[in-house]
């Protein structure tokens, strides 16, 4: 432990390609934030305090005791910061779904950087960009050359760039889980308690969201799926059985099944269950098993037609099943060299 100036262990939190919700989730542990403040000395936390990269550059290697790193690796700057904070931190935590598995930013792995730029800078109805300017990594101005970070074609998770000690899943992680993890860290730093084995996923359970979900399950098979705006789900009944895509069966619990309880199918943000490499593939299996269409007595053509008709009601399977886990999926991204139809 590095006991610096005031003797407290050093805490850092940094955002890469993220929305800022993870920072808010840390502050959202309510009065416990005071305990965090009394135990730790904040060494770097650009969202809440004024720190510059020079501060981090000037730290000795391993100066930061715990670094919560949220956000995916989207640009060369994200990668540079990940490497820097890895070097300066004893314990690096992939905090939240983006750092863990790519999350929403990684959905752009289904397309190209050029297509993303077109949407963001050129084609969007709310964009006013008559000269068609898009960011250039380097640009000549009279005063010299300016450069900005390079925007990668592929979004990566933190562990695909540097070694990660622990992972806290969630978009964002839920306050009780964050507090539980912080208590373990605080106990380790102040009382010498054991930390979980390196590489652990902490702050999540090893069962599916369905285990925590109070909605009632019956044996029912689906003849068509609905998008959330298309129906008002019956309260108290399993959403998947009502035809709403709910990622519960393929998602690790820990959140308390908050979304299904308010009528919105689980989005899948806590990532796959232990032992599962590809959350999307598991969800695909789960969805396929509730499809009711087709029975063994049908002719082969009719059988296919019936099943196709049900599958037609799921408009974006890859985007739905990999909503949070594209970067961490088996294939990581779409193959842009193939002549598959793409998205």
């Amino acid at each position: 432990m590095n006991m610096g100036d005031n003797g407290k262990p050093k805490l850092a939190m940094y955002w890469a390609a993220s929305c800022g919700g993870c920072e808010i989730s840390v502050l959202n542990i309510h009065e416990h934030i005071l305990t965090v403040d009394s135990v730790f000395d904040v060494a770097f936390f650009p969202c809440i305090a004024d720190f510059k990269i020079e501060h981090v550059n000037n730290y000795n290697d391993g100066y930061i005791d715990v670094c919560l790193f949220n956000g995916a690796i989207r640009t060369s700057e994200n990668e540079e910061m990940a490497r820097l904070l890895r070097q300066k931190s004893k314990v690096l935590v992939a905090y939240g779904s983006c750092a863990y598995e790519g999350c929403i930013p990684a959905l752009s792995n289904l397309t190209t950087k050029e297509a993303t730029f077109n949407t963001v800078y050129l084609d969007n109805p709310s964009i006013d960009n008559p000269d068609g300017t898009i960011p250039q990594p380097t640009y000549q101005v009279p005063e010299g050359e300016l450069d900005i970070p390079v925007f990668y074609n592929t979004v990566k998770s933190l562990d695909q760039v540097v070694d990660v000690d622990y992972t806290i899943p969630g978009c964002p992680p839920e306050p009780p889980q964050i507090w539980a993890v912080l208590q373990v860290v605080v106990a380790a730093l102040t009382e010498g308690a054991e930390l979980p084995p390196p590489g652990s996923i902490v702050g999540a359970r090893t069962v599916a969201v369905c285990e925590e979900c109070p909605l009632e399950i019956h044996e029912k098979s689906i003849e068509r799926f609905y998008r959330p705006y298309e129906i008002n789900p019956e309260p108290g009944l399993c959403l998947l059985e009502q035809g709403l895509v709910c990622m519960g069966p393929a998602t690790a619990a820990g959140c308390g099944a908050l979304c299904p309880q308010v009528g919105m199918g689980c989005r899948g943000c806590y990532g796959p269950l232990p032992g599962v490499e590809d959350q999307g593939a598991k969800m695909l299996s789960a969805i396929a098993s509730v499809i009711g269409a087709g029975d063994p007595t049908m002719e082969e053509d009719e059988l296919e037609r019936k099943i196709e008709a049900v599958v037609d009601t799921i408009p974006d399977p890859a985007g739905t099943f990999y909503r949070f886990s594209m970067a961490h999926s088996l294939l990581h991204r779409a193959n842009l060299n193939g002549n598959g139809k793409g998205v």
Binding site: Y152, S285, P296, V311, L336
Partner: protein, 156 residues
């Protein structure tokens, strides 16, 4: 001599029908493409979509799933489950840029050695025409990291 591209096709064959069809094709001394590496599974319904994705990621150019005809499954409707999954998987693979010929499902009963052999021949030619997939080399590099395109943006 110019080397012809030989696709690697991973075949998941069900124990009760298609693996026996492959056996029959062998004992009947049928000549067919040697490109399929057969893996016996108890039922086509055992084929987890993860198996398919993993095969594609780790070097297969195509994946063939073969099972009993609908209505003839040893486990009543394991093959129907396989079909439901396969239809959904095909949609997802299209979004991931995997050509549809690369992942196929065929029904071949224990007496249909010829049908299985023909399906393997046909698929081998289709995948040969598409060329190698080489997911690790083209999309990911060998160590699991990504090959980044040269960071140069074209002027707009």
């Amino acid at each position: 001599m110019s080397e012809q591209f030989e696709p690697v096709i991973v075949g998941f064959l069900c124990n009760w029908c298609s693996y026996r069809a492959a056996d029959l094709a062998g004992t009947a001394r049928l000549h067919y493409a040697p490109n399929m590496r057969a893996i016996r599974v108890m039922c086509s319904g055992r084929v987890d979509p993860q198996f398919v994705l993993k095969a594609l990621k780790e070097g297969a150019d195509g994946v063939l799933i073969a099972g009993c005809h609908p209505g003839e499954c040893h486990y009543v409707e394991g093959n129907i489950k396989a079909l439901r999954r396969f239809i959904l998987l095909k949609r997802m693979l299209a979004q991931l840029g995997v050509e549809e010929e690369r992942v196929q499902l065929v029904w071949a009963s224990a007496s249909e050695g010829k049908i299985l052999a023909e399906a393997v021949d046909k698929m081998t030619e289709q995948v040969r025409a598409l060329g190698p997939l080489r997911w690790q080399e083209t999309v990911l590099s060998g160590n699991g990291q990504w090959v980044e395109a040269t960071p140069v943006l074209e002027e707009v």
